[in-house]
């Protein structure tokens, strides 16, 4: 079973490397959205410092949502998904592997570039770790929750807008706790409590979301 999962992850990563522009688009979207906020609210450093955690988190959330469409779409189009549904590997495990691969391609780059963006917002350097760590724990949870939405909207017309309508309300707790972690790190409270909660959310989503997404995939490809 582990071999099959490794195969799924390897295949998805290979596909992403061959089509690297898809990966870069999401990353650029993240950077551009975050850069638009200073243009909108003005260059006052105190204000930017105050809104930095929220802006970076919302931008990361939107970027990772933008990438969700691709999670199952190409496999659905070329019939690979049907083979996965029929295969001997439990579908929940396959979905978990796909989500992991998807996060490595679309979530991890966001996490890695976020400290640079935070510096643009005059974010205190000693709190950068907390922000990066909150994104590192939060974005996989976003990918997991998003997988349910992506599976439900597979092959529907207007899937993109519909997907955001389904997924964004469910993202609210992750956003609140994630941005809260960075914020309390800045205010000197330390973000440990929020980071622990984020970890709990990630474990919870990791346990149940692949299973729910697998059920949704079976419904979508009936």
């Amino acid at each position: 079973m582990m071999a099959a999962l490794r195969c799924v992850i390897h295949r998805d990563l290979l596909l992403a490397v061959r089509r690297s522009s898809d990966v870069l688009t999401v990353l650029l979207f993240f950077v551009i959205v975050a850069s638009l906020f200073p243009l909108g609210v003005g260059p006052d450093p105190a204000l930017l410092r105050a809104i930095a955690p929220g802006v970076i988190w919302v931008a990361a959330l939107l970027a990772s949502m933008l990438a969700l469409n691709r999670m199952f779409a190409s496999d659905h189009a070329d019939g690979t998904l049907e083979q996965m549904l029929l295969g001997a590997t439990p579908l929940g495990m396959t979905v978990a592997a796909k989500v992991l691969a998807h996060w490595l391609v679309s979530g991890l780059p966001l996490v890695l570039i976020s400290p640079v963006l935070a510096l643009q917002f005059d974010f205190p350097q000693e709190s950068l770790w907390t922000l990066t760590l909150s994104l590192a724990l939060g974005t996989p949870a976003l990918s997991l929750i998003g997988a349910i939405g992506a599976a439900l909207t597979l092959g529907l017309r207007g899937a993109g807008a519909l997907l955001s309508l389904l997924v964004l309300p469910l993202y609210a707790p992750v956003l609140i706790i994630g941005a809260g972690a960075a914020e309390s790190a800045v205010s000197g409270l330390g973000g440990q409590a929020q980071l622990l909660l984020l970890g709990a959310l990630l474990v919870f989503a990791g346990a149940f979301a692949p299973w729910a997404a697998a059920v949704a995939l079976r419904i979508s490809s009936e």
Binding site: I148, L152, T153, L156, R157, G158, A159, L162, L165, L166, L168, P169, L170, A172, P173, I176, I177, G180, E183, S184, L201, F208, A212, V215, A216, I219, S220, E222
Partner: protein, 246 residues
């Protein structure tokens, strides 16, 4: 005596029953709402602190109760449909969603009408308001997903998965929002009402809640009847019914 639990699980037998039930629950809803409004507007005393503006709670509180309760009922039917693959359960779930969304919207709207004279603002990012708003988005998501899928069986099942995921998430959303709120700002607005509530106020609220409850049942059954007719339009009983009523 053995009871046939599944007698009313087929649209053909449920359709006439739903019609009768809808009528009676509708009548009860009308009576209860009339009585509740009478108690609320003519019997309940004026509040010492909030004046007459408080009277909107006779709509607001029951609507908020129903908005949350209906989501759970919807998820219950959705789960039942997913587990037992019964046709009617999915129809009930999609029949309940618009009523739930209506009550959520009513709760938000009356809340802001109440907030302006009492708090001096239409909207605060209070935990309850925010989670109610997210609940409204969840209802919209459910309805949008069902509307986007042409095949009714797939729409039922996909909606069921979403409703169940939502119902698991509602407590998480509520607590995270509550916690976020207390983290951000002190309690500038206290939602706790006067600790002792006059008995007539409570009575009015409970009668109104019963009225809303009956209204939801009646409306859901009426909508379920429409969905049944639409989906079973090829079957004999539906054709017969349409011919009879034409």
């Amino acid at each position: 005596m053995s009871v046939n639990w599944f007698k009313y699980s087929s649209p053909q037998t449920f359709f006439p029953l739903a019609g009768k039930l809808a009528f009676w629950f509708g009548a009860l809803a009308f009576l209860a709402c009339a009585a509740g409004l009478y108690i609320g507007f003519f019997r309940a005393p004026t509040d010492a602190q909030q004046g007459e503006a408080y009277r909107i709670i006779f709509i607001h509180v029951p609507a908020a109760w129903m908005s949350m309760f209906l989501y759970i009922v919807m998820a219950f039917w959705a789960g039942l449909g997913l587990a037992f693959n019964t046709r009617l359960s999915g129809m009930m779930a999609s029949a309940l969603a618009p009523t739930g969304a209506l009550f959520t919207f009513l709760a938000l709207w009356t809340g802001s009408l109440w907030g302006k004279p009492t708090w001096g603002t239409w909207w605060v990012w209070d935990a309850r308001l925010t989670s109610e708003l997210i609940l409204l988005f969840l209802y919209f998501g459910f309805m949008a997903l069902q509307a986007a899928i042409d095949d009714p069986r797939r729409a039922d099942k996909a909606g069921a998965v979403l409703a169940l995921v939502g119902v698991v998430n509602i407590p998480i959303i509520y607590f995270s929002v509550k916690w976020w709120n207390t983290l951000h700002q002190g309690a500038s607005v206290s939602l706790t009402r006067a600790p002792t509530m006059a008995a007539t106020m409570l009575a009015g609220m409970i009668v109104m809640a019963l009225g809303f409850w009956f209204y939801s049942i009646a409306l859901a059954l009426m909508r379920a009847r429409c969905i049944m007719l639409e989906r079973e339009r090829a079957s004999e009983w539906a054709v017969e019914y349409a011919r009879g009523s034409a």
